[in-house]
Each structure stands twice: as C-alpha cells, then as structure tokens.
Assembly symmetry: C2
Homo-oligomer: 457 residues x 2
C-alpha cells in the first residue's frame, strides 16, 4: 500500500467521532446563542467565482486563494505566449473559480444578489469551513471552520453590545471563564493620529499597532518611524499606550486627550454608549477591557473593534473578534450598507477547552445501551427490545455478530457505551433482562419498562 494513497493534504484534518462530539459541543453553544439573539442561518457554496474573491484580501490574500482548475481542456484559452510569460499570466485563463477564503465576502455577495428580497436589518449567522493556502503550522490549518454573525442595515450600537453579550454567553456556556474582550474603536485610532500630529495616517498606525503583542513596542515604533511618524508624535503616543485603570477611568482620560479631535471624541462617545447598553442588559462581569492598542488588521473596520483573548493560557491569538464596517457591500457596487460582525475561532476555542479540561465527559456518549448478541434466538428477541428502546428515544444498538461476549464488552467499553443489556434464554423467558452499568460494573436484572425509565432519566 503506498503511503501517498492513504494520506490527507497537509493542513487538513479528519474529525473522528470523539473529536466531532467535542467540536459539535462548541458549534451547538455558538449556534444556540446566535439563534437566541435572533440571528438566522445562511450557507453559501464552497466555490465562488474568482471575480468575487480576488482583490478582497490584499495581495497576500490573493496568493492564498485556492483556485479550481476549469473542467475539460483548461488550456484551451491559453497561448504558448502566455505560458512563456509564466504562471501569473496563465492562472486567470485556467481557473475561474476558487474556494471560499472567509465568510464575510460571500455574505456581502449574497446581500448584494438578494437585496430586493432581504428584510433589513438582516441578521445572519454562518458556520462553514474556509480554505487558505497558508503554510501549515501548529494551530494553523488550510481548511478550518469560521462561525460568523453579522447584522447589516443598521447603525445601532445595541448590536455591538449584543456582540459582547453573545461572546460572554458562549464562553460561559462552554465553561471558559478566564478571558478578556479587548474593545476599542477605529475612530479613537483616527483621533490618536490626529492629536499626536500624524493625521490621515490611521491605516499605517492600525497595521503597526496591531502587531504590538507579537513584536513589542520598540519594533512597532521602528515601523511607525519608517511610515513617517515623527519622534515627537511617538513621544506623544506614550501616555496613551501606557493608559491604566478601569474602563471608565480610561474613557475619562481619552476624552481629555482627544479633546482636539472630533472623530476621536465620537469614538469615545460610541464606546460609552455601548458600555451603557451592556449595563442596561444587566450584564455584571462583562469581561471587557478598553484597549486603545487594539487595531484589528483588516482595513474594512470603521467603528467599534473587539477581540477575545484567553487569560492564563498557553493558547495565543484571538478566540473571537469583530467590529463595525461602514460599507461592507461597496466593493460589489452597493453602497451605504453599514453593519457589525464577529466571528468565533473554533480551533482556538477547542485548544483552550482541552487545556482547561472543559469538555464534559458524557458529551462523548452517543449510544446509551448495547445489547449483547448471544446467538440467533437471543438476537431475534433483542431486535424487539431495540425497537422499544428506540421508540423511547434511546440510542441503542445490538452487537451485529454472535462473537465472544468478552469481545462485545470490549467494543462497548471502547465506544464509551454506559450500559450493556443481556437477553439470554432465561432472561427472555422471565422477561427480566440483565443490565450492566459499565462505569460501576454493577449488574441488575429488571424489566424493559424499568430499563427504559432508568435510561431516559
């Protein structure tokens, strides 16, 4: 058997039953929260036209798009001249479809295509895999799920407050308590560049400050200097970066520091409004921390930005994040569609849950009871028992072959099946079946009615 034949592509994964149960536990928590907050599901195709995807993720992103070879004679539109010029000249002629790179662009494309049917504000969630031809490494995959929720068609900051609430609800229901939600606003970043004397340099500022956690202050300052920030402006930046205290104290400070910037003050007011809503919702420990060094790399954010980090954890990077954009669909020719969206990173959340042992054990159990297959007569009778168990909603199975009981028990054990039912000839005569609790090893003999009651309880 060749090894190549039975491998999977680098950076992709199979999810066997145990992993699936754990991942579904996370997906279910996210889905339930999204729905409880009035979001409805959307699914888009894995394949999108490259005209939809290209140019939306920067040059680096374009390189990471997986392109699908056109069917049939894919070379028919390519001349030898093209081929001599190299692959960049050829790619657009041999591939017109690509794999979804994120869920935001397909969502924008969907909104534009269906704008006459959609009821705005449109609250949708989407849980689907995306693909990126990235270099695989620990925690970074070429195929991974994103879980997005977006509202488009409203400026209301209630939406941002609800995002904070949903993050709290999801993590609380998953048993993750050590986390913070860093919260800021792009307008504050813009205000900062104004007051330190680098107006209009908000994008460069955001891109560099975004790397603060990774590369440290010194190198961020080097980058900013290269980007044209003066020594004077960097000195003015220091007290802003060193800001300490509660969210309210920071808001107070920012209002003073940004008093000369209209846009900056607007950012401060928006943050205050959001904190007000969170308090109206009655959320006590909201885990939020105003952090002006938060930038969120993606350029399309224009208002609130937020990101979730695990505390006291070996897991780096954000577990969730999002923000407000003014013009999601502008790139497809439909302007004025403001919205706010955020995403949960299932792989990182999974890693944190493994780290703190947050997965419930019973979650892995699917089949609740296995019936031992003694012989043909026992099996025939047991099928009737199975029907009664299943009619009562109890997941159950019979071992399909009449092999040694030890082997059947080992199967139940490995599959984490908590109960084993035995219907030998005597049990069948008396209509009292053996029931073994696989955790305690305890064995009882009782009626099918009692067994159903026990297993349903």
């Amino acid at each position: 058997m060749s090894k190549e034949k039975t491998s999977i592509p680098k950076g992709t994964r199979d999810f066997g039953p145990e992993k699936m149960a754990q991942r579904n536990y996370i997906f279910d928590a996210i889905r339930q929260t999204f729905e409880k907050f009035g979001f409805l599901p959307l699914e888009t195709p894995a394949m999108e036209n490259l005209s939809v995807l290209t140019g939306k993720y920067g040059d680096e992103g374009d390189k990471l798009l997986y392109k699908i070879l056109n069917s049939g004679d894919f070379l028919s539109k390519t001349s030898l001249e093209d081929l001599r010029k190299g692959y960049k000249q050829v790619v657009a002629k041999v591939a017109n479809k690509g794999l979804r790179y994120d869920l935001t662009v397909p969502f924008a494309r969907y909104v534009v295509m269906n704008r006459h049917e959609i009821t705005f504000p449109f609250k949708r969630y989407q849980i689907q895999p995306v693909w990126r031809a990235d270099r695989p490494q620990k925690g970074r995959y070429r195929e991974f799920y994103q879980c997005d929720a977006d509202v488009v068609g409203t400026d209301s900051l209630i939406c941002e407050a609800e995002n904070i609430l949903m993050i709290n609800e999801v993590f609380s229901s998953l048993g993750i308590e050590s986390f913070i939600i860093k919260l800021s606003n792009r307008k504050i970043l813009a205000g900062i560049t104004e007051v330190i004397g680098a107006p209009g340099k908000e994008t460069e500022f955001a891109v560099s400050i975004d790397k603060l956690d990774k590369i440290g202050r010194e190198r961020v300052f080097e980058e900013l200097t290269t980007a044209g920030f003066t020594a004077d402006s960097l000195i003015k930046l220091l007290p802003i970066m060193d800001m300490k205290g509660t969210n309210n104290e920071k808001l107070e400070l920012l209002r003073k520091m940004l008093s000369g910037s209209e846009v900056g003050l607007q950012g401060v007011e928006e943050l205050e409004e959001i904190f007000g809503y969170i308090s109206n919702f009655g959320l006590k420990d909201d885990h939020t921390k105003l952090d002006v060094t938060l930038a969120r790399g993606l350029n399309y954010y224009t208002g609130s930005i937020f990101e979730v980090i695990a505390l006291n954890s070996g897991i780096r990077g954000s577990l969730s994040g999002g923000g407000r954009y003014d013009n999601l669909t502008g790139v497809f020719g439909m302007d004025g569609m403001s919205g706010v969206g955020f995403s949960f990173g299932v792989d990182r959340i999974y890693d944190v849950m493994e780290e703190i042992n947050a997965f419930p054990e019973e979650n892995l159990v699917s089949t609740q009871v296995m019936i031992v297959n003694f012989d043909a007569a026992s099996a025939a009778h047991s099928l009737g028992i199975l029907t009664r168990l299943r009619q009562a909603g109890i997941s159950s199975e019979i071992y399909p072959d009449a092999v040694k009981v030890k082997k059947q028990m080992s199967y139940a054990n490995k599959k984490n099946i908590p109960y084993v039912l035995m219907a030998g000839s005597q049990e069948i005569d008396e209509e009292k079946y053996g029931l073994k609790d696989m955790t305690t090893g305890e064995q009882t003999r009782t009626s099918i009615e009692d067994i159903i009651e026990l297993l349903k309880g």
Copy 2:
C-alpha cells in the same frame, strides 16, 4: 456593478434562512435517526489528494473531479513539451489535490489510515457536501450534500434490516408516506445470469438492467444483446422480469427459478434472513418490495442492494439507496473489510417534501418575540427584558433603531416572528407590557412573567 462580480458558479446555491430551516429539518431527522441506531459522526476534509480520488469512480468520474491548482508557480513542473501535448498531460503536474466526489472513498481512506485506532464494527455517519463537475440541470447540482451511514467490519444482515428501519423512520418523521424501498441482492443478479445461460456476465447485466426505468425494456435488451447475451437467454429472462406478487411469493418463485445456482440461492436466503429480522424488529408496514430488476450501478456492491423511490410523485430518481460491499478498502491495500452503507439524497427529499407540503410552518420561526424600539428610554428598559427572555431560553430581539413602528412591525412580519412586545413609558411604569400575537392580531397587556410562561409553553 458588473453582473459577473455578484454571481455564483453555475450549479451551486446559496441557502438563505428559510431554505436553511427547511434543510436543517431534514438533516436533523436523518442525524437523529443515525444516532438512535448507534452511528457516530465523522467529517473528512473537502480537499483530498488526487491519488486518493483518481480511478475510484470510473473514467467518467475522473473527468468530473474538481482539481485544485497547486499553490505558487503551478507551472514549475511542466515543460513546454508537456504543454504542447495538451491538457491531459499537464493536469497531473499542475494539480495534486481535488474536491471530495462522494463520502465513500474518503471514508475508506479514513478507515485505512486509522485502522489501528478504530473499534470494529465501525458505525459512522457523515453529512457533508460533495462536488462534481457535472452539467447542471434541474435537480442536479455541482455542489450538494450527501448523508451517508456505513457499518464496516461485519457480515451481519442485521445491519441491512436496520438500514430498512432507518429509512422508514426518517421518512415517517418527515411525513413522507408514499414511497417504496426496492430491495434485491447482487447474488440474485449473478444467479440469474447463471440460470439464463450467461454466467460471469453479471456486471454487464447489472449496468444494463439498472437503466430499465429510464430507457425501457426494449433498449435494455438491445444493450444486453450487444454485450453478448443470446436471444435464448433473454427469453429465459422474461418470466423473471415479469415476476409479480408479495415479497414471500417472489422469494418462493426465485427459489425455484434459481435452484440451479448456488450463488443465486444464497442471495435468496440473505433476503429471507433480512425480512426475518425486519419482522423481529416489529416493523409492520416496511415499504419494501423485492425487485430483481434493481441493480444499483456502482460496481462495488456485492450483496444486498436497495433504493427508495417516491410514489405518486413528479420527483424522479432515488431518495435514498445503498448496499453491501465485500471489500471497501481493498483499493487502499486493506482487504477483507466487508460492510453495508446507504445514503439519503437531501435535495430530492426536499423536492418531495415541497411537492406534498410536508414542511411544518412553525419550523421556520427562529425568533419568537421582537421588542419594538420606541425611543432611547424604552430601548434601555427593553434590554433588561431581553435578558430575562433569553435567560428563559426564548429567542428574542429588539429592533435596533427607533424608526416608525409600522416599519418595525413589517420587519417582524417578514421574519415570521410570532409575537411583538411593546414597552412604552406607560407600560414600563406599570410593568405590564403590550404583547401582540402577529398571527391573530390580538393584543394583551401583561407581566413579563406571564409573557415568559406563554412563550415557553
């Protein structure tokens, strides 16, 4: 705005909230049944190495595989010489990954890769999309979901009986009552070729007889003649094809007709055993119909075969189907792995349910109550109400902006939200809120406790 920019690839679909709710209704029914019968979930990556996929689906299938262009300079391994020879020479050098074509081959690949960790018999289900570069037409898509359940590592015919049970349970829970499960066995087909004097021609026979519904008896006979079947053998075939009566009567007839064929009689016995188990399970109306003209095109079936057809319906083709294979993983070098598997076709099931109006209306409702946004004070108070509703598990939302009430009502209406809650200043003072039943138009004023009780009920 260019039209091209906002389109999706031919043969693919977006599923908006309503379609998603309907499709999830089907997926949930299938998933619940699979799990109730002890099947556990598996997911494999969308991308597989082409070495895994190629050669598994015949020449036609190879053509329909979507291939993914290698990243970076995909032309680096291709010489101008290769390019002059045409695309068939080039494809293997520019693409080493492809999109999943079905769920069976990735399952076989998974079993081989994980054979030392898997507990056999291994019962897995898998619900994921597959991709085929087929010509799109009504009911045929380039991206569509398959829902498979397979057991490998056992010869027990209890598995086949359980497949029949699961089909009955899924359709019954979906409200589809007019269907038949055609059931046969490849060994019976082999037996037939033996007794009509065309031994060894089982594959040709299966391939032709499979088209009976589509092209009619005359053209099937033409094909068989071309394949070397004599006129004499075709005449002997007639009484077998015209067989009528109950399943038991047909079994009786077959036992006589196939008395000269060991393998044929074995097929008859297997069918009898399966019918016996179904009866042991206590299933009264099992919808099965023994049909010796059933063949199931795919060559890897070696035992039982079955297929589900909608009766009195405009929907052609099978809603579900499957069978037993002796050697699923042989192609990956692991022999002797017998199993039985079947699949539900969600798109066809969806079409049948639309045809007979089987979708429940309340299924589409996600948000149960919307709170009207009158003004800032009302909204601030309403956020506290929302928290109470959501803590009680009630999906609820506030209209994010304080726009005209008529517009908010129209939103609730279009989103099929059954209740609207109003908290104006007077309502807030009295702690009695207005609740409008959007179906009847009736309006009451009551406490939040009563509202929660009503909505939870």
